[in-house]
């Protein structure tokens, strides 16, 4: 098995990350997942690391271990993310720091450390996770949308910086998918959000893996710095 078939996915314990892990295991990838807590996913091609994505030492150690085990990595899905809905006047600073730590610093650290491994093979596929909340400027999601706006900027700039190393960097911007992330959002709020999409339905997991499939393909070597929103946003 070559390092090119090793896929790092962050936030794999539940939700979209769990789905993507199982999906890419089925496709024959070796998956290296991580989350703050243990995972109950068991597969002979799955390895799990317990870490906080914003912990530099932990991320470096994970990549160091993957280099030793597999000789590198071929893909990275920066899925780990948290959200919090609140009016700006009621948003505690600690919430802002928590969201930026996971969504921005976590994405940055994984991009940097994975790219260090990928550049030796002059090959890599990085997919970051954006959101339709950014282009829709959703009220109540200022910090989440701002953190993902930062992820979009990172994606576009890293695409240029890493292009000479054979690494593409793109992002998928999902619509709401029925996971824990939106569990506490009121129903009426969700319906008005869906109404702003060209296609008015919740996203499903397969919508996301359809896009990550495209970005991960070897043939997508001329596609970089793109943010692809789902649902016609």
């Amino acid at each position: 098995m070559g390092a090119e078939q090793v896929l790092v996915i962050t936030g794999t314990r539940k939700g979209i990350g769990r789905y993507l892990s199982e999906y890419y295991l089925e496709q024959g990838w070796t998956v290296a997942g991580c989350s703050r807590e243990e995972s109950d996913l068991r597969h002979d091609r799955y390895v799990h690391y317990c870490l906080d994505v914003a912990d530099e030492a932990g991320v470096k150690q994970m990549m160091f271990d993957l280099q030793k085990r597999f000789g590198g990595v071929g893909g990275l899905l920066n899925n780990a993310g948290i959200a919090s809905m609140n009016h700006i006047l009621l948003t505690p600073l600690t919430t802002v720091q928590r969201i930026f730590n996971t969504n921005v610093i976590g994405t940055f650290l994984f991009c940097r450390e994975a790219a260090k491994l990928m550049q030796r093979a002059r090959y890599g596929r990085i997919v970051n996770f954006a959101t339709v909340a950014t282009p829709l400027n959703l009220e109540g999601e200022s910090i989440y949308a701002a953190s993902k706006a930062a992820v979009e900027s990172l994606t576009r700039v890293l695409a240029r910086e890493l292009a000479p190393l054979g690494i593409t960097v793109n992002a998928v911007g999902p619509t709401p998918v029925q996971t824990d992330l939106i569990r506490s959002v009121p129903q009426a709020k969700m319906q008005s959000l869906l109404a702003r999409q060209a296609i008015n339905r919740f996203g499903v997991m397969r919508d996301i893996s359809n896009v990550t499939d495209f970005f991960l393909r070897r043939e997508s070597d001329f596609v970089t710095g793109q943010v692809l929103y789902l649902g016609g946003v």
Binding site: A57, F64, Q67, K68, K116, L117
Partner: protein
């Protein structure tokens, strides 16, 4: 930042940097090869490396330290990027800098 407990010495660090230079040189034209000597400039006007070339050397050295000595160091930390006398000036200063981090 470091994790691990191996003690590094200068000759082995220089050897490791030269191995990285060998790898980097494979992607460079014959008349733009980086010379494997302690006094070779890596950074600044005297260097034949462009910014991406320097990035390749630094990342390559980081990775080799991790592989060969089991030590996770970050060479491009805030201190290194702000030092008036950059530790990336020459192969020799880079070797000293690696030793100072790895044996801290």
């Amino acid at each position: 930042m470091r994790t691990g407990a191996a003690m590094l010495e200068k000759p082995s660090v220089l050897e490791l940097i030269y191995a990285t230079i060998d790898e980097v040189n494979q992607t460079r034209p014959p008349d733009r090869q980086v010379q494997k000597r302690p006094e070779t400039a890596l950074f600044g006007s005297a260097s034949i490396l462009d910014s991406l070339g320097l990035v390749n050397v630094i990342v390559g050295v980081e990775q080799r330290i991790a592989e060969q000595f089991g030590i996770a160091v970050t060479l491009a930390d805030e201190k290194a990027m702000s030092q008036r006398n950059s530790p990336f000036r020459t192969i020799d200063t880079l070797a000293d800098y690696v030793l100072s981090l790895a044996n801290a």
